[in-house]
Symmetry: C2
Subunit: 195 residues, 2 copies
């Protein structure tokens, strides 16, 4: 079961050096789990108990609006952290739903353990500071793209940036992530084929 953690640990080592007792403490807090394709990991209205790290497979987080339309706010592939941050940190009911798009292995980090981790090994404050900082930049870029690029350009950029996602993600969710309808994505794809 140790091999589960190796990729994550080497990823963390890029930001902060951990000695073996620190690594051991950290990994002791993680709860490995398997989730099957289609299975729910987080549900709307339920407080998110865990921060989630994806070891393999692919998860998707979406928001369901009053008109019952789903809007994908993020995909999470191997090596990514995901989940409803607000629900997790404030321990309030989640406004998102997270599901597996493929059979996946994940590591759950429960809220109380996250708090202990940050208290006992302050270096992890740095790790998550950098994680959130980078994520913030990504989110800003996404906002800009939505304002300044057409649906077609956004789709092209998406294919370039996340080529590996196509294998897991149904087109309708890609359309949702990019902010338009599946029907319009069909039109875009047809135009591309004709070129």
């Amino acid at each position: 079961m140790n091999s589960d953690f190796s990729a994550l640990l080497s990823n963390i080592a890029k930001q902060i050096p951990l000695d073996s007792s620190e690594s051991a403490f950290f990994t002791s807090l993680l709860r490995p789990a398997h989730v099957k394709q289609g299975e729910f990991v987080e549900k709307f209205g339920v407080t998110t108990p865990n921060f989630i790290h994806v070891v393999s497979g692919c998860l998707m987080t979406y928001y369901t609006d009053k008109a019952a339309n789903d809007h994908v706010i993020q995909f999470a592939m191997a090596g990514w952290w995901t989940g409803d941050l607000h629900s997790f940190t404030e321990q309030v009911p989640s406004i998102y739903t997270t599901r597996a798009l493929a059979d996946s292995e994940v590591l759950y980090l429960p809220k109380t353990d996250m708090d202990r981790l940050l208290e006992q090994i302050p270096k992890f404050e740095r790790f998550f500071r950098i994680l959130f900082q980078n994520s913030l930049v990504t989110h800003q870029n996404r906002i800009i793209q939505n304002f300044s690029a057409s649906a077609e350009e956004r789709y092209e950029n998406f294919l370039q940036k996340y080529p590996s996602l196509e294998q897991y993600v149904p087109l309708k969710y890609i359309a949702s992530y990019l902010g338009f309808t599946p029907e319009f994505l069909s039109k875009i794809r047809r135009k591309r084929m004709e070129r």
Copy 2:
């Protein structure tokens, strides 16, 4: 000049307790400055030397696309931190421009001093971790709003959420921030008046 720092220090104290020598070290790193309305604080193509904290007044950060259209990505009021995070942390040329919308007082935290601060007082890792974490949640909410709400709803929400911004910000920048044209904002406002 000490009074400049009091609001910021008490804000920080909400997250992390600082003793007086820590406070003194922190404030010794900050460079107070005045910027006049319309003045540039950060420019496209120039590496951002400072993280910026607004003491009073109002700043605006925007992205200029290939078609020379500006897209406002954030406003910053008293008590907010702002600037191009990516340019600042990676020390690469900025893709944004930041300007003062009103005469403002700001505190600059130069990159090398930020690094020293985080090294010498690791509690600040926690402070910025929480800052970025909250900002991330705000950005996610904004993305969702853009996808699931109409221009009119976004404007209503904006007025509710940032009532104090109206006094500083020309309508055309509010339209830009919300992702539509000033002309369309006029239509929305007219419809509102008629009700």
